[in-house]
């Protein structure tokens, strides 16, 4: 089974600390373990279509960890921020371990509603979003982060605002163009923005 490489966890911590938030390995690992456990149990279910609801999962993890480990987070938002990153790793790892480097097989257009909270997400879809976000990170890291928080963690605008320390209005504003960017990027055979190179054929 694939695990988050250590350097990724370190990077995660550094990122959180840079933002002035206290987080330690124990917490991250706890989150990671919990989310993995939840994800695995969901995906193991018989007749399951290999899709997950990240938001549900994150909420469930939150309830569980809060209850069981008595982990004290600065606040909910930061917990979710960590969850979003971990969730992204889990889904992408899963897609890659299933050999879905070659995208396309049976994969339809990833369609988002305005919340950018998809319904069930398959690891394949997550991989596509992940790769789009990697491209977006190159041109607008802040917006890419906001989308990550929304898509993989289900954070609301207010929560995102808290995590990235911007006012909520700016986040709202950012969301509109970020969402439009993602939408066009994830459309099938989109040719616009050709400077970003080859786009996955969805």
């Amino acid at each position: 089974m694939t695990v988050i490489p250590d350097e990724d966890i370190t990077r995660l911590l550094l990122e959180l600390r840079k933002g002035g938030h206290a987080a330690d390995d124990r917490l991250i690992n706890a989150v990671y373990r919990e989310l993995r456990r939840l994800a695995a149990s969901y995906l193991r279910k018989e007749g399951h279509d290999q899709s997950l609801q990240p938001t549900e999962l994150v909420h469930e993890a939150y309830l569980h960890l809060n209850d069981k480990d008595k982990i004290k987070w600065q606040n909910r938002s930061h917990f979710f921020a960590v969850c979003a990153k971990v969730m992204r790793h889990i889904l992408v790892d899963r897609a890659r371990s299933r050999g879905t480097e070659k995208r396309g097989a049976g994969l339809e257009w990833v369609e988002f509603n305005e919340e950018f909270l998809p319904g069930p997400v398959t690891p394949e879809q997550a991989l596509v979003v992940h790769e789009a976000l990697e491209r977006f990170e190159k041109i607008s890291p802040r917006q890419a982060y906001a989308i990550e928080l929304r898509y993989f963690g289900g954070l609301t605008n207010a929560e995102i605002a808290e995590v990235i320390e911007m006012n909520e209005r700016t986040v709202k504003r950012d969301m509109v163009s970020a969402l439009a960017w993602c939408h066009k990027e994830l459309k099938p055979r989109s040719r616009s923005g050709s400077t970003t190179g080859e786009h996955p054929k969805l």
């Binding site: 919340e115 289900g154 605008n157 163009s177 969402l179 439009a180 055979r189």
Partner: protein, 1075 residues
Amino acid sequence: MTPEQWERAKDIFDAALDLAPDKRAAYIHSACSNDPVVFSEVESLLAAHAEVCAIRKKADGSFLRPDRFDLMPDLFDPPPPPTPSLQTGEVISGRFRIVRQLGRGGMGEVYEAHDSELGVLVALKTLHPEIAANPEVLNRFRQEVRIAHRITHSNVCRTFHLGRDIAHVSSDGSDPVDLTFITMEVLDGKSLYQILKDTGRLPLDRAHAIAIQMAEAIEAAHRAGIIHRDIKPGNVMVCSGRNGEGDRVAVTDFGLAKVDGSAPGSDADLSAISHPGNIIGTPAYMAPEQLDLKPVSPATDIYSFGLVLYEMVTGQKAFPGSHTIGEARSRLVEEPPSPRAVFPDLPAEWDKAILSCLQIDPADRLHHVTDVIAVIEGADPAELSKSPSINTGAPPRWPAPQPQPATRRRWILPTVAILLFCVSLSWPAYRLYQWRANSTVASGTLVYLAPVKNETGEKQLDNITELVRAGLSQSAHINLLDAGRVSEILQHMTKSPDTAITPEIAREIAMRGNAPRLITGVLSKAGNTFSLAFTIEQPDNQPGRPRHSWPKTWTWNDSAVDQSSTSISPKLLENIREASDWIRGRVGESDNDIVRLGARPEDVTTGSWEALDDYEQALRLSNEGRRADAVLALQQAVQKDPQFALAYAMMGDILISLRREIEGFRAYDKALDSGLRNRLTRKEEDRIRGMRAVDTADYQLAVDAFHDYTINYKNDYIGWTYPTIPLRMLKRDEEAIANLKAAIPLAPDNSFAPHELANELILRDRQDEALQWVAYLKNHNHAESATEVEIVLAFLNHHYDDALRLTNSLHNSASLLRRSNSYGKEAGLLAEIGDYKAAIKAIDQGLVDDDAQNNSAQRAERLLNRAYLEYKLQDYSSCIRDVDTGYVLNPSPQNALKVDTILGNVYAVGPLPITSAVRLELRKVMQTLPQPEYGNLAELVQLRTLGETQLADHRPELALKTFQQADKKDELAGSREYVGRALVALIAKNDNPSNSNRLLEQAMAAYSPIALRPAFIWSNPNHFLPGEFADALSSYVGIASQLRIDSPEVRRAKLNFALLRKNQTSNLVVRTSRP
């Protein structure tokens, strides 16, 4: 995209979202003017945003309801209007009977209604109940009516009545509602905004006529103490005059007008809706004092009037890119722009008149709007400004102004601006209009682009049509009438293909071609000023004139044109691109698609005049059927511009149609070469990838490429019809049928899709349906194409004489290709029924015809066909000779496969001395095998030839293994005759009865794809040797008899064979040993 570019794109996108949707395009155009990357990014973001909004409307909005859409006031993204839609015949306030709806806006709806009290038609404008509930808006509405009532002038849109119908009960029985409405006169015409957008610059006499009437309206308002404050093209309506009168101009929307509070008859309550300190008006047409929040005066309207004049005579805005207040503020300091800088031929009077309106200081401007007209007509502005308040020198058509000594003082008032929110509540006036005609067309509509006429006298400019075509053919919205169809139509009109296309002929072509729109263009030149005029026409039922037309002209100055230069002027290219974008937009294509599928014409054709000239020549030659000459012209073109990918693509098409596959592949590969690929439009690239894959027998790849094509160009029949053969070969006939059915409505006059559909239906044993498409072909003037299908049907139903008679009728076809193919078809039919000698005669006739056409590839094909017939007649030496000559003439992969089949069969039955000749020939084929770059087909040829060589070396077990590999490379639906032959050879060699039955069964299966599908060889006759069906059937039936198999299939095959070869019994396939 760099982070900086993204930052800019994001800012512009955000700002655009704050604008009303119809203002966005203009705004981003100016805001990103110098960066196409940013521009296209913003455009695609906006398009994506619109799609997201659409998804949002569909979504149920479950949990975590977003808060971000609060940012977008519903004014810009209006919810479905709650106003009751009034029904025809409904009566409002017991007085206005609804005739029909004229339009719908953000605030309500507009109807045409009959006023029973006055007995006239009126426009009735309703307000959404929740908007009417806002007292400010209601007051604003009321003010508009009051102000309009104070001005009675034929050039001011008349407003009659502000009414409320309390608890109006709609005729559909829904709940009663309070209805607020105003009635005004029905204006039947177009706004000046629309006219300028459609046609560009106006001729001076028309501009003059409109200016006079505008001036009269504004003057009338000023005299009544009213300043309009929002004079702009959108508020000027131009209605076509009746009975030979000139246009009638009406100034609309006094909704922002300002009344002098101290003027007699003014209403005190108007101040109640004032919001001091706000700016009102439209930034692009605001006077400096409005921008500066300084007092407004009649001079304010004069300034805006000057801007409108400027735009009428130049076709451009005086201050482009001033869509926001911030941008517009530049005019507070900048010198007023001279219209002559844009249009050097503008008479000095116009220039003077416009400049004297555009002075920054209101005091420096002309004092009366009528003075502006006087200056245009030759008066001296200095003289006019001497009479500051009253214009005594007005032309006689003006009623003498009443002396109003206090007037000037009264204008100077504290700034009190009336503004509600930040959005103009004025309704786009054109919504009040009955649209008589609309240039947009449904997606997939056929459009005929007539050759652009060159009136410049510069010969090299003759070829700009192809540049325009390069832009238009990228459209995902329209399909251009193709050149082949145009020459067919010309033939029907009994005109030669090089007839000069006059507007009348162009209209007739469009009418005959069922193209609902026609595009004509003229390029002309006066001095250094070039004009490119395009007109979109809707053809009428006679070619004399169009039913409707939408013209627009682009003018530019190109002094730097070097006539000896071979490269095309950038300014010309830029204007051609704009024109082609305009046409695409005007026929209804989305801005997003225009940008997304909008490679520059010179990028996807050539920047060299000489190369373009050769290309045009090639097009012409190809349309005349002179395909070999067209190839020569294209070779010239790519010599002059080695990057001319489209020329390579066309060369590939023609070469392959000439059966010069190897050269054809080379041309395609050149076009798809990594260096040139980006010089192809998306459409061309997908098409060539598909064609290339079809021709190298890589059928799955071909299907994929054409699938990609349909994603962008779902309205183009090519993407649906071209994968027919690949799908057929992949045994996906039902998909092919569905695709073809989708294609036919897209190009109803094109014979290709209905012809192939009939073929497919025949393959699926649905002859009745196929007959319907035969009738369709006949009804669409494709009698010969219908005949070709009928030949197949006659053959399948064993009416061999009919089939031959029909085939012979095609020997006289006007189409060279059809005529040439008809000999091959005749030979095929004769060979199937066993008359090999007659078949050879038919081929010899064809060879005479090929000589006349100098078509060596066709000749090679015939020689190979003849060789097969000679083998059947046991004339082995002639057979080997024809194989040798034919293959040398055109060593294409397809021919190599045929050679393999012929030689293999000769070896199997030929006398010993011939078998060494067979080995020799096979070795020659091995040496000339196509290179691996021919992909799947090359591999297949290699395996086939190797297998035949192994057979000839008397090693059938090895040959079988090789052929089994070839079988995997070969088309799924195609012949496996070679496998059958190897199996039979193996049985003969081993003579082992224990497994020979099993091997025989396998051999029978190998013959079955052709033997059991008599229609198959006719669906692609060039692939097969004459008589191949009968031979496969004979082998199949022979083996079945030997194995004593009696199934319905075998019985049917036996019956078929009996009918085909009346006096012949089937081959006894297996001989125990070689002679």
